[in-house]
């Protein structure tokens, strides 16, 4: 049997470190392995014995790209366990903070990491020579997102201002005013960005995915909602573990999350858009329609357009939240630790992020479970790669490799979420 292995030793323009292996046997794709050589950091183990109130700041350190997502899922899970309800302006401020992270993370991925694939550059810096305005606009958007994080959180990476029950300090209306001006400009830039990426050449690609996202009665989902899919899944967050399971299989080397009933599924912007298009509001819906994007999109290469649409939405939503803001009477509601189990799921920029904690009577963590979005997408990414590799098998190896890498970047994988990733074990054939 004629076999060869194509290896991409270092996946670039992704957060974290990974590699890809394709096994080709007798002219057909025999195996696809997306391997992660991110060393395990054992967050779920080191959280045991820590105070529940420490979970937001500790789990933020899982990912420097989406620390707010970790803080939000941790906060909501601990608050769930302790019977704490955070509502009104405090809830709105959390949503505003999350909008900042979406803008920052999406702008980073769209312009600095993913756009170079479509335009044939190795990176955004070399792309800047030919597309200077677009790169500058992307950096300006990223900076606008970071300004939201800096004002509400104290700093861009690992913000310091959230706590169980609310915040340490809340802004005045006057402090938010300059942010509104920044976001007005960002909103116009985001629309221009969306129009720019919508003109990229998109490979023909469609698959019958099961899309999974949060769904809220009246909001585009960020912090809250039920977990739904396009195949009838509709569960409370607390039932996550009954519906999804993580498999630890020898040859694939990663804990891969799957639906117990049906296997692989897709989380992230494409899933959110398809399941929550009606929650985007008329102006964002009109922009999506103008760009040829309708719910039911099954081409993951177009996720870059969806991401840009979500940046527009996040700017609009942030402006709405700022306009409606009245400072709460206190920066946090009272919190009394107690024994119990709490769960939460929020929409990280790259998809749903599930946390569960079991706590003792003093509020110390007895057990923690964290399921990051990339571990949920991993088997879907491998399925996509099998199709891309089969289609492009006749191409020169460099091109095949580039197409596969682009296929991986469709998911904005955050490999640093190493709570659940393992080293590659080479499968013996």
């Amino acid at each position: 049997m004629a076999t060869k292995t194509i290896r991409v030793d270092t996946l670039t323009r992704v957060e974290g470190e990974g590699a890809l292996e394709l096994d080709i046997a007798d002219g057909a794709v025999a195996g696809v392995r997306l391997s992660i050589f991110e060393p395990p950091r054992f967050f779920e183990a080191l959280l045991r014995g820590r105070a529940g109130a420490e979970a937001p700041d500790i789990t933020a350190r899982i990912c420097g790209i989406c620390p707010v997502a970790y803080q939000m899922s941790a906060l909501h899970a601990i608050e769930d366990a302790w019977g704490v309800t955070v509502d009104g302006p405090l809830r709105a401020l959390r949503r505003l903070l999350y909008c900042g992270e979406w803008i920052e993370s999406h702008a980073l991925h769209i312009v600095l990491l993913h756009a170079p694939d479509f335009l044939g550059f190795p990176d955004a810096i070399s792309m800047a020579a030919a597309h200077g305005e677009a790169v500058q606009r992307g950096l300006a958007l990223k900076k606008a997102g970071n300004e939201v994080l800096r004002l509400l959180g104290g700093r861009e990476i690992h913000p310091v201002n959230v706590r169980v029950g609310g915040f340490y300090r809340v802004p005045t209306r006057a402090e938010l005013a300059p942010l509104a001006a920044t976001l007005e400009t960002a909103h116009a830039q985001a629309i221009a960005l969306a129009r720019w990426v919508a003109r990229f050449p998109f490979p023909e690609f469609a698959r019958d995915y099961e899309f999974v996202a949060l769904r809220h009665p009246d909001e585009y989902p960020l912090n809250a909602g039920r977990i739904v899919s396009n195949r009838g899944l509709d569960i409370a967050v607390a039932d996550y573990e009954a519906a999804f399971a993580e498999r630890h299989v020898a040859h694939s080397t990663a804990l891969q999350s799957g639906l117990r009933a049906r296997g692989s599924y897709l989380v992230g912007p494409l899933a959110r858009f398809n399941l929550n298009h009606d929650r985007l509001g008329p102006s964002v819906q009109a922009l999506a329609a103008e760009l040829g994007l309708a719910p039911g999109c099954t081409n993951p290469f177009r996720s870059i357009v969806v991401r840009a649409i979500e940046v527009v939405y996040a700017c609009e939503e942030a402006l709405r939240l700022i306009a409606a803001y009245t400072p709460p009477p206190a920066p946090a509601v009272p919190v009394v630790p107690r024994a119990g189990v709490g769960t939460a799921c929020t929409e990280a920029p790259r998809g749903i992020l599930f946390h569960r904690y079991r706590l003792d009577a003093e509020g110390s963590i007895l057990e923690a479970r964290i399921v990051p979005p990339t571990s949920q997408n991993q088997s879907t990414i491998e399925d996509d790669l099998r199709i891309i590799a089969t289609r492009d098998l006749q191409l020169p190896e460099d091109e095949l490799r580039d197409h596969c890498e682009q296929g991986i970047r469709n998911y904005d994988p955050c490999i640093s979420c190493s709570t659940h990733f393992l080293r590659l074990e080479v499968r013996r054939r």
Partner: protein
């Protein structure tokens, strides 16, 4: 125009969250200028072009937690004229160094169903435990202004201007009332290296030590002050045992308040 070749930069990642190298991409206003002044030869998070060394300057993020990484950092050192470690993982082992105080096999079993597939060291150690480091930039995450200063200084052949003061000094300069004095909030500011801009006290919160121990930090005196404010042993133990838990002054102080039955 200056015809001299630009100095080459490489950015490396070990066990970490990516946040410190993201700080470089977070320099939105300076990124293109940095890319103009430096030849970015290897930065996997940002570019598909990965050129082999030698490099004039390497930035290293993350701690050493596997035998493979212990080898890899030696190769990075050999290929780098100057090597700067960035962040709490690279300078002190990071939050993942909590394994150093526990049984790593218990850690593996707590997370993974099939422990046999996991290959890891029992400890998470800073880069300086493995190779010579030319400069250490602290923080979880680092401050991007300090990062630009260190890069500029090393390129200009001068000593980076990174003050060795505590967060207390930064708070005074910022005009933030002391949170310990004003509202009795326990704060690690007196024993923590400045550099963050004293953000936490400015937001009404005690410093949680993410920049690691300041020089000559009197941790025992601070722990006594915390006790006077009503903090129990366990919370003092936890406070010193976070993102810089393996940095010596913090390790010693957390041990002084440790309890074998309560490792956290």
């Amino acid at each position: 125009m200056d015809a001299r070749p630009r100095p080459t930069l490489a950015v490396w990642k070990f066990a970490s969250c990516d946040g410190c190298q993201l700080s470089l991409l977070d320099c939105e206003d300076e990124l293109l200028a940095v890319a103009g002044a430096l030849d970015i030869a290897s930065f996997a998070e940002a570019s598909s072009t990965l050129r082999p060394g030698p490099y004039d300057l390497s930035l290293v993020e993350g701690s050493i937690t596997t035998a493979h990484d212990a080898e890899r950092i030696r190769a990075v050192r050999a290929a780098s004229k100057r090597l700067i470690t960035i962040g709490a993982c690279a300078t002190a082992g990071g939050i993942q160094a909590l394994r150093n105080f526990a049984d790593v096999n218990d850690y593996i079993a707590a997370v993974y169903a099939t422990p046999a597939y996991i290959s890891t060291l029992a400890t998470s150690t800073p880069i300086s435990a493995h190779v010579k480091v030319d400069f250490e930039l602290h923080g979880c995450p680092i401050n991007k202004t300090q990062l630009l200063e260190v890069i500029s200084a090393l390129l200009a052949g001068r000593k980076p201007d990174i003050p060795n003061e505590s967060v207390c000094v930064a708070c005074k300069r910022r005009g933030t009332p002391c949170v310990m004095v004003a509202h009795g909030t326990p704060c690690l500011g007196p024993v923590t290296q400045a550099g963050c801009g004293a953000i936490c006290p400015a937001y009404g919160r005690g410093c949680y030590g993410c920049f690691g121990p300041a020089e000559a930090a009197n941790t025992a005196a601070l722990a006594a002050a915390w006790t006077a404010l009503g903090a129990d042993r366990r919370s003092i133990h936890r406070a010193f045992r976070t993102f810089n838990a393996a940095a010596e002054p913090f390790r010693k102080e957390s041990d002084a308040h440790g309890d074998e039955n309560h490792p956290g």
